[in-house]
């Protein structure tokens, strides 16, 4: 009896071990090829799309201190397909390993395709695929996505997943690109009241671009020279009902990111015109956002009124006109000047969203919801239309936490 029992439990144990392999879902790292970036373009043939896959080699860089293989870190493959889900199988005629979207980090859509009214119906397939995570990013490239991945050759970060992770994270922290996860894209598309911003990128540098202020560029316009990557992430593409309609520059994107409390901006370095300088000098400042914006609305009447208060902390980093901030009067001038500057910038941009974009590019309508008792009333109010008529007042609450080092004017010889 004792013997049979032991044998039985041993058998059970072995059955358990078989289960541990994961049945049909057994996977081997060696056998997998992970798609890090997926490019989508319009195909020459009607109704099809051109899929580009950026595949990472899991073997490269996984070993500490060299000794790794000499294989290339990435593979890029482009072909025409009906959708990007079945494309996985098609790609296997070229790629030796089984293709997985598990680690997919970024979707790059060419501007041409993003402006196509057919784009949302193709892109909504993302929700059907069980491997794609909603925290992957959506980016719009100026050129064709297929070309973008080929041109994009990072020098320092050869492993593509790290490159996109760092590039995107730092861009979002600086506020120059929006936090455009698929999650937010679908949220905004489902809400149908606000616009969605996707990061704008390109791997082709413009020839002879104009020199502008530090954040007024679009991707490709920054004239960086030296030994570097051509890829630039700056600015944003505006999506309405899932289709791209317009672009915003880096500065406008940053302003929206400051208005939007749901993004993850950290600290932002900006240049602001110096109020004390007669020539057009600018001083550098660090903006910290520690508190959330306060939004108040008065939605009765024909022209709804929206009051937005933005609390910002400033650190003054440079002082080109060498003003003495020990004097209270100077400090007040500066505070007033910064507040006016910020308010002007925000109101101008919001005006532009009302007239040009015809919608607000961040989830502002959410704040309107609490003024209504039921969904029917809210729907009747029709945010999409009412917003265009709205009176928007922006108030900046500026708190200067640090005036920087006080330097005295260097003495000139003979003075």
């Amino acid at each position: 009896m004792q013997k049979t029992k032991t044998v039985c439990s041993l058998m059970l144990f072995f059955v358990m071990v078989i289960l541990l392999t994961g049945c049909w879902d057994r996977g081997e790292l060696e056998d997998k090829s992970y798609v890090i970036g997926l490019g989508l373009d319009r195909s020459k043939q009607e109704g099809k799309i051109k899929v580009t896959m950026l595949l990472a080699n899991p073997e490269v860089g996984s070993m500490q201190g060299g000794g790794g293989s000499t294989e290339k870190p990435r593979e890029i493959i482009s072909f025409d397909a009906n959708d990007f889900i079945a494309a996985k199988a098609t790609a296997n005629s070229v790629i030796s390993r089984s293709i997985s979207y598990d680690l997919l980090r970024i979707f790059v859509v060419s501007e041409e395709f993003a402006r196509d009214p057919m784009f949302p119906s193709t892109f909504f397939e993302v929700l059907k695929d069980k491997e794609i995570r909603l925290n992957s990013y959506l980016a719009v490239s100026k050129e064709k996505a297929a070309q973008y991945f080929l041109k994009n050759k990072p020098r320092m970060e050869t492993r593509p997943h790290k490159y996109f992770q760092f590039m995107v994270n730092h861009g979002i922290e600086n506020g120059l690109i929006p936090d455009s996860t698929l999650f937010r894209y679908f949220q905004s598309a489902e809400r149908g009241t606000d616009l969605f911003l996707a990061m704008y990128t390109t791997a082709i540098r413009e020839k002879n671009p104009k020199i502008k202020r530090e954040d007024e560029y679009m991707a490709g316009e920054l004239n960086a020279t030296g030994e570097l990557d051509d890829t630039q992430f700056i600015g944003s593409a505006v999506f309405k009902n899932g289709v791209m309609i317009d672009k915003l520059t880096g500065q406008e994107t940053r302003t929206i990111n400051i208005l939007d409390d749901t993004t993850n901006i950290k600290d932002i370095l900006v240049n602001i015109p110096d109020p004390f300088s007669s020539s057009q000098k600018q001083f550098a400042a660090r903006i910290l956002k520690t508190q959330s914006n306060k939004v108040k609305m008065n939605l009765k009447g024909i022209r709804p009124k929206i009051y937005i208060t933005i609390p910002l902390q400033f650190e003054i980093m440079s002082n080109p006109s060498r003003v003495n901030y020990r004097k209270e009067k100077n400090r007040q001038i500066l505070r007033k000047h910064i507040a006016d500057h910020i308010e002007q910038m925000n109101e101008d941009l919001l005006k532009k969203t009302q007239t040009k974009l015809k919608g607000v590019p961040y989830p502002l309508p959410l704040f309107a919801k609490k003024y209504f008792g039921t969904i029917q009333e809210y729907k009747k109010f029709n945010w999409g239309k009412s917003y265009l008529r709205a009176d928007i007042h922006v108030k900046a609450e500026i708190d200067i936490v640090n005036y920087g080092k006080q330097t005295s004017r260097p003495k000139k010889v003979g003075e």
Binding site: W24, D25, L127, K130, L134, P363, K369, G373
Partner: protein
């Protein structure tokens, strides 16, 4: 401690109840509620709990007249032999279908999110075999295991929900009344099935140390679970906003979305393991109770031997529907619209019959004598 062997103490009982009913926050319930009343969905669990409180209170009051008797004995005693049998059979059939479709829902979740290529049947069989094995071990074991894992289960749920709040916006819960107060109240009364498990749990009274423990445990679990489901739903509403309607299983979408920083980006497997353990407990308890019902119905004393065969039947019922859509859109609503209201009606009728028969007076007289 003065625990009788083979009986459930209060902590085991509360753990089983919380794992059985609280798990609803992690399957399709929040999304189903959202489709019905949009952003007011978080009120439904609270209001339904308020509505279901009355029948449950009356039921427990009636049950307390008969020490150490389970639901079916009481029904048979109050309704008579034949009517009682029919009512009991009805309860058994409904709860059987509920188990089949619930297990199928869990199989669908596992297949669509975690084991995408394994055939449905294999996952289903493994799930059921494990649950049947657990149920065969007896309620005492189920109680101990649920007390063992309840801490981890709740902790992981809190962590997942806590991280989710970082991505959410509280403004999404407005307009506060959703589709209107009347609509909310109407749908809360339809959704009392969320708490129907508490009705079924009265079957295990003979296995709980005392009636007082049962009463106290039920109320603790009842209040806690209604709050948990409501809070979870609220967090999902704030996180997904309008797109919640498009996701069948918001908890699993959420744990795939959240990450613990840049270096541990994909963490869903940690939550999945703990979640699957609660699922095992949930269905183990369900299977055991259903076997108990069957045993009571047909006067089978060693009902624990019934568990494997009952499990097989449930498995066979569960695999009939072809696709997950049939389950969530057709069959489950059918059970949901039937079970809750019917259990409530049975509870109230039981109390009324007891009142008419003068059982409460008898009990009082007995006590005063």
């Amino acid at each position: 401690m003065n625990q009788q062997p083979g009986k459930l103490g209060i902590r085991e009982f509360v753990s089983i109840a919380i794992l059985m009913v609280g798990a609803k926050a992690t399957e399709d319930t929040p999304a189903v509620l959202f489709r019905q009343v949009q952003n007011a969905a978080w009120m439904i669990p609270l209001l339904s709990a308020g509505i279901f409180f009355i029948p449950l209170f009356l039921l427990i009051k009636t049950m307390s007249l008969y020490q150490d008797k389970d639901l079916f004995s009481v029904i048979k005693k109050l309704f008579g032999k034949y009517l009682g049998f029919i009512v009991c059979l009805f309860i058994f059939i409904i709860s059987s279908f509920a188990v089949s479709y619930d297990t199928r829902t869990y199989t669908n979740i596992i297949r669509s999110f975690y084991f995408t290529t394994t055939p449905n049947l294999i996952i289903y069989v493994i799930l059921m075999v494990i649950c049947a094995y657990g149920a065969k071990k007896g309620l005492q074991h189920v109680g101990s295991v649920s007390y063992l894992i309840i801490f981890y289960a709740l902790l992981s749920l809190y962590i997942a929900l806590g991280i989710s709040t970082q991505q959410s916006n509280i403004q999404s819960m407005f307009p506060i009344w959703g589709p209107g107060q009347l609509e909310i109240i109407k749908l809360s009364s339809q959704n009392i099935t969320i708490f129907a498990d508490f009705f079924i749990l009265t079957m295990v009274i003979p296995y709980v140390t005392s009636n007082k423990v049962f009463k106290k445990g039920t109320w603790i679990a009842f209040v806690y679970v209604s709050i948990q489901i409501s809070v979870a739903t609220l967090i999902f509403i704030c996180m997904f906003d309008a797109s919640l309607a498009g996701y069948a299983y918001p908890f699993h979408i959420a744990i795939r979305f959240i990450s613990l920083g840049d270096y541990i980006p994909n963490v869903e497997i940690i939550f999945f393991i703990i979640w699957i353990m609660t699922a095992f407990i949930r269905f183990t308890a369900f299977l055991y109770i259903n076997a108990l019902m069957f045993g009571q119905l047909f006067k089978i004393k060693d009902f624990e031997y019934l568990i494997p065969s009952l499990t097989t039947i449930y498995l066979l019922i569960g695999i009939i529907p072809e696709s997950p859509i049939d389950i969530t859109l057709v069959l489950k609503p059918l059970i949901q619209n039937l079970a809750g209201p019917m259990f409530a009606v049975i509870s109230i009728t039981l109390w009324l019959v007891a009142q008419l028969k003068g059982e409460f007076k008898h009990a009082k007289n007995k006590n005063s004598m």
